[in-house]
């Protein structure tokens, strides 16, 4: 584990245990993995608490490397003014939210933030189509076709404008109202404003019993 300089003090451990959902073992393991990402001279305890790790280094962790949401995760948890690096406490925040014992409320809250690609506080159609593209893979042959995306997210157009995801930019302005069948917005958008806000998202997620077990990262 290295010299005594890289171990966390008892008070700090107790404080982290109080403030996060992690156990002592998990916090120590997280600290060790975080220090491995730092250059040698920054590995002492005081330095490691203040150091900021760039996104490229965090994304080199095997737990995050292949995750299609990795950039969003890093952006959401970063508290640096330039939102491009993570400190140790941000890293602990990340692990705490993704841990076993975090409340479903917290998980759904952060899931909402991760899925909100344009950071505007709601999930609109573009967020949803980017989400689906992340899920199915970014390659040309792994996306849903434009028609399928439209059917999935929504089929109703607004006042003559055809609002569609990025893949169907070629379609341009399609007019006409078509009845929609059970799709994402139809199911989750309770107030019928065309976007999903935090409470609607949490309402949908609360009815999904698999969410808590799939929203987990274990070091």
């Amino acid at each position: 584990m290295g010299g005594s300089g890289s171990r966390l003090s008892k008070e700090l451990l107790a404080e982290y245990q109080d403030l996060t959902f992690l156990t002592k073992q998990e916090i120590l393991l997280a600290h060790r993995r975080f220090c491995e990402l730092l250059p040698q001279e920054q590995r002492s305890m005081e330095e490691s608490l203040r150091a900021q790790v760039s996104f490229e280094q965090i994304l080199s962790l095997p737990e995050l490397k292949a995750n299609p949401f990795k950039e969003r995760i890093c952006r959401v948890f970063s508290t640096a003014p330039t939102r491009d690096s993570l400190s140790f406490e941000d890293f602990l925040d990340l692990l705490s939210v993704f841990s076993d014992t975090a409340t479903p409320d917290i998980k759904s809250h952060y899931a909402f933030r991760i899925f909100d690609f344009d950071d505007d506080g709601t999930l609109n159609r573009e967020d949803l189509s980017r989400l689906v593209n992340c899920l199915t893979g970014e390659g040309e042959d792994t996306r849903l076709s434009a028609a399928e995306m439209k059917q999935l997210i929504d089929n109703v157009s607004v006042a003559g404008l055809g609002l569609a995801g990025p893949g169907s930019g070629r379609e341009g302005w399609t007019c006409g109202l078509k009845p929609s069948h059970s799709q994402i917005l139809e199911e989750s958008d309770i107030d019928r404003d065309g976007t999903i806000n935090l409470s609607e998202f949490q309402h949908v997620i609360s009815r999904s019993p698999d969410f808590a077990s799939s929203f987990k990262i274990v070091l």
Partner: protein, 720 residues
């Protein structure tokens, strides 16, 4: 500006609302620039809506950090406004949340905790009740953490769940739970059966071969030298020296106190298993009931909880992405299918229903053939054992002994893949197909066991005919089965052993070679044949089947739970090793929630099925006259009323009252009333939920209207 007003009124008119205005923020969307070329002065609709109390947690991100969702422009002109917003947010969230449940960065939570602590001190240690509540919560959490730490293999399970998904983890969690059940059962059996046996002096040896009684003679084995193959044979079939050992029922001496504890141990084990399984399934049930009807929210669930964040490795991730794409496409296709099905003509409907009928008949025919085969095999075993050829070659004898188990395993191997092939032809949606396949496989597994027991019952009671020639004198077929309980125990013992052997054989002879050889095969064929998945439903049903066998057999073979504990322990490590060395992550066709609800239910079904033969034997079949602790009684249960009559009078009266109708009928009535009340309550909650949803919609329309008015008014004021 007019364009603004008309746009907003237009948007207000259509129910799809004000998407365009909301979207008008910084950020390159080309079509927006066409609609909104100028920057509006004054507060925009989005900034007004951002200040609503419901968006409080979204805004505050920590000291010194911009509130989430602020625009660049707003920052430029209102650094003060953002600070005011953060302070207001802090004041809003004054409820006593534990700090770590707040969705804020660490620094903010630390500040909140310190201010909370300071407030507590300032108020003079708050109220007594609040303090006690905090202490209670902390101690409950600590206790729960300690209990979690006590559970073995917690870390292994977490790792499995992280790498292979929640479905596989639920299998191993179920295996661990069954291990606990079996360990408890074996401890209970040891205390209530083994201990009393030796407490009153060593039990006697096997009866002399010379003694004879009206119910035939019983000589389990001949003393003397036994060859090694014969020893192995005895070990595998439970005969020979094992037959007169604590392993089987026949060994236990006819002492009255032992009889009572023997009987009570069976009931105690059953009761404890029932309680533990119910406790486990309640949490799964709660989750499933919470989810409203699946058809209503399938798309949202598929998209929002689709991604398993614990997956790692490029290959696994790509595999999962492909699966998700496939599932989404299938789901969309199914929606089309459903829409087309709704408009099906009469002719098409008739056709599809006749196809379904045919296929179901085929399934019933296959199942019937399988059951008849098992029934025939069990009967044929006894005949085969009489032929001289078989009696001379020990290997053949072993094979004949195991014929029922071989048949059952063969049927369980062959039929489920056929069900999987048949299901797509029925024209149901994929999720329904999976339910049908599961139901048929469960039915197959548990019924083959039932058929085996039925054929054994046929042998023991001469087909239920107590006046038949063989069964007249002693009430059971004493010529073929002088000690029928031991024979039943032996069959279950053989089933357990054979299950273990097939598991080992499949792992060593099929899975590992497949992984090795197909890893060397070139190209797509190698990859296709080499990627094995951990088939969660099949494995779980195998576990449940094995546990049902043990439950049936544990009355007639008291050490069976101990053997099963050892077997499950071996299975755990074997499966874990196989999983990590040969399998890739499983597809999502089996969700963790279904596993948590469906499998304990099937386990309960297995427990119910296993109770039937045991209770039947206890109450209705006369016990063997030559072996066991109940010899000489009219029925196994008869021991209990005799013991009760030796208790004091009040105890007797109380126990007899419990068994009378005066107790049972009111109990039934009260349970029915409670059930009706719960159903009514659940219905009313459903009504309240739909009512509240409608209210939310109305409120949002009010909110949007007011916000637009606010914007219009303030911009009108600004223009002045």
């Amino acid at each position: 500006m007019e364009k603004n007003a008309t746009w907003e009124s237009d948007a207000w008119g259509s129910s799809r609302g004000w998407l365009a205005p909301r979207g008008a923020r910084g950020g390159g969307r080309s079509w927006e620039a066409q609609i909104r070329p100028t920057f509006r002065p004054g507060p925009s609709l989005s900034s007004v809506l951002n200040e609503l109390p419901s968006a409080a947690t979204l805004r505050y991100r920590g000291p010194g950090v911009l509130p989430w969702g602020t625009l660049v422009e707003e920052v430029e002109d209102g650094g003060r406004s953002s600070r005011a917003v953060t302070e207001a947010t802090q004041k809003e969230l004054q409820e006593p949340h534990p700090s770590r449940e707040l969705p804020w960065p660490m620094q903010a939570r630390r500040a909140h905790r310190e201010s909370h602590a300071r407030d507590q001190v300032a108020y003079g240690s708050g109220s007594r009740a609040a303090q006690w509540a905090v202490l209670l919560r902390r101690s409950k959490e600590k206790m729960r953490a300690n209990l979690h730490a006590l559970q073995p293999w917690a870390w292994t399970l977490k790792r499995i769940g992280g790498q292979f998904g929640a479905g596989t983890e639920s299998y191993f969690s179920l295996l661990r739970f069954l291990l606990l059940l079996n360990a408890l059962a074996s401890v209970l059996n040891a205390c209530m059966v083994l201990l009393p046996t030796w407490l009153e002096g060593a039990p006697p040896g096997p009866p002399d071969p010379d003694t004879s009684s009206p119910c035939g003679s019983y000589h389990p084995y001949s003393q003397g030298l036994v060859t090694f193959p014969a020893q192995l044979f005895y070990l595998l079939s439970g005969e020979g020296y094992l037959e007169w050992s604590p392993l089987f029922y026949g060994f236990y001496p006819p002492r009255p106190r032992l009889a009572v504890t023997y009987l009570c141990s069976a009931f105690a084990v059953g009761l404890i298993c029932l309680l533990l399984i119910l406790h486990r399934s309640v949490s799964g049930l709660k989750q499933t009931l919470l989810a409203e009807s699946g058809a209503l929210t399938s798309y949202s669930h598929r998209v929002f909880s689709a991604w398993d964040f614990g997956l790692r490795g490029d290959g696994h991730v790509r595999l999962r992405q492909r699966l998700i794409l496939y599932e989404l496409q299938v789901e969309l296709e199914e929606a089309e299918v459903r829409r087309r099905a709704a408009v099906r003509t009469l002719g098409q409907q008739v056709r599809i229903w006749s196809v379904r009928l045919l296929l179901n008949l085929l399934v019933v025919a296959l199942l019937g053939a399988a059951f008849y085969g098992v029934y025939w095999a069990t009967g044929y075993t006894v005949e085969l054992q009489e032929t001289p050829v078989v009696q001379q070659t020990p290997l053949l004898q072993l094979g004949v002994n195991y014929l029922p188990s071989i048949f059952i395993s063969g049927v369980n191997f062959v039929l489920p893949p056929i069900f999987k092939l048949i299901a797509p032809l029925e024209g149901y949606t994929r999720s329904r197909q999976i339910v049908f396949i599961l139901l048929r496989t469960v039915f197959l597994r548990l019924s083959s066991l039932v058929v085996l027991l039925f054929s054994l019952w046929n042998q023991i009671t001469c087909g239920g005919d107590s006046e038949a020639e063989d069964c007249k004198t002693c009430g059971y077929n004493y010529k073929e089965l002088p000690c029928w309980e031991t024979r039943l125990g032996q069959e279950m013992y053989k089933l357990l052993l054979f299950d273990l052997l097939t598991g080992l054989a499949v792992t060593l002879l099929i899975q590992f070679p497949r992984k090795l050889f197909c890893g060397l095969c070139p190209g797509a064929l190698g990859r296709l044949a080499g990627t094995q998945e951990f088939q969660v439903p099949d494995e779980v049903l195998g576990l449940i089947y094995a546990q049902t066998v043990v439950w049936v057999g544990s009355f007639f073979c008291p050490l069976l739970p101990l053997l099963n504990t050892a077997k499950f322990l071996l299975l755990f490590f074997l499966k874990k090793f196989t999983l990590f060395s040969t399998c890739s992550p499983a597809s999502r066709t089996f969700r963790a929630s279904t596993a948590n609800f469906f499998f304990p239910l099937v386990l309960l079904l297995g427990l119910a099925i296993s109770a039937v033969p045991v209770l039947y034997s206890i109450f209705l079949i006369p016990p063997s006259k030559l072996c066991g602790p109940f010899r000489g009684q009219s029925s196994i249960w008869a021991q209990i009323p005799e013991s009760i009559s030796s208790l004091p009078q009040t105890a007797q009266n109380f126990l007899f009252f419990l068994g009378s109708q005066a107790f049972a009928v009111p109990l039934l009535l009260i349970s029915s009333i409670l059930m009706a009340y719960s159903v009514a309550l659940a219905n009313s909650y459903g009504c309240i939920i739909s009512e509240l949803k409608r209210q939310i919609e109305t409120e949002v329309q009010n909110k949007v209207f007011l916000a637009q008015r606010a914007v219009a008014l303030s911009s009108a004021n600004g223009a002045l």
